[in-house]
């Protein structure tokens, strides 16, 4: 069966510090991968998605970036965190079905980021 991991679970960082959040998927090959952010009491905002190694699409202009160095690894980064980067970050994966690419997304446990 497939599993998705995220770490760390919780992170408190000062403004201006760098960020690296990691997501890995097990039990599947060539998945589509996604990063979402959820502010307190709000819905999910898609930040990045990837359909393959090195292929990253950005949805929202910001000081965050994403990379996919391996097939089942997805990393969210920032060189300098802002207060507005605080939130709950969720990674998700889905089966790549070609035209039917927006199939069920399965989510990781999330990372709670607080920027002080």
């Amino acid at each position: 069966s497939q599993t998705i991991h995220q770490w760390p679970a919780t992170l408190v960082q000062p403004v201006g510090s760098p960020l690296s959040l990691e997501c890995t998927v097990e039990g599947t090959s060539n998945p589509n991968l996604y990063w979402y952010r959820q502010a307190a009491g709000r819905g999910l905002q898609l930040l990045f998605y990837s359909v393959g190694i090195g292929q990253i699409s950005s949805e929202v202009p910001q000081n965050l970036s994403a990379s996919r160095p391996q097939d089942r690894q997805f990393i969210l980064s920032s060189k300098k965190l802002l207060l507005s980067d605080s939130g709950f970050y969720l990674c998700a994966w889905s089966v790549a079905r070609g035209r039917w690419s927006t199939d069920t997304q399965y989510f990781g446990p999330g990372t709670r980021l607080t920027v002080l």
Partner: protein, 113 residues
């Protein structure tokens, strides 16, 4: 552009009763999927039910069922025999051939014992 609207920020239901959560969407895609996800206090998103737009039959998963009205672009979730563990935030989502899911703003469901 795809949009998803959940007009009920909060709902409440008595244990063992039935509740319906509303969702409307707007998409230009001809083929798409619709989803309901549950987010309990742990905040992990859990798939509740999925509907393929080309299927006329409404999807069901145990106590959860949907009322899919394609022409009206409506996709409501019915929870029967509500249980305390059903208390959570529920998100409706719309997916098309665009590598994206568009989520609504959520409905917070409280279950009263």
């Amino acid at each position: 552009a795809q949009t998803v609207t959940q007009s009920q920020p909060e709902m409440s239901v008595q244990e063992a009763e039935t509740v319906t959560l509303s969702c409307t969407y707007d998409t230009s895609e001809s083929d798409y999927y619709l989803f309901w996800y549950k987010q309990p206090p742990s905040r992990q998103m859990i798939l509740v039910i999925r509907q393929e737009a080309y299927k006329q039959q409404n999807a069901t998963e145990n106590r959860f069922s949907v009322n899919f009205q394609k022409a009206a672009k409506s996709f409501s979730l019915k929870i029967s025999d509500s249980q305390l563990g059903d208390a959570a935030m529920y998100f409706c989502a719309d997916g098309g051939a665009t590598n994206k899911l568009i989520f609504g703003t959520g409905t917070l469901l409280a279950v009263q014992p």
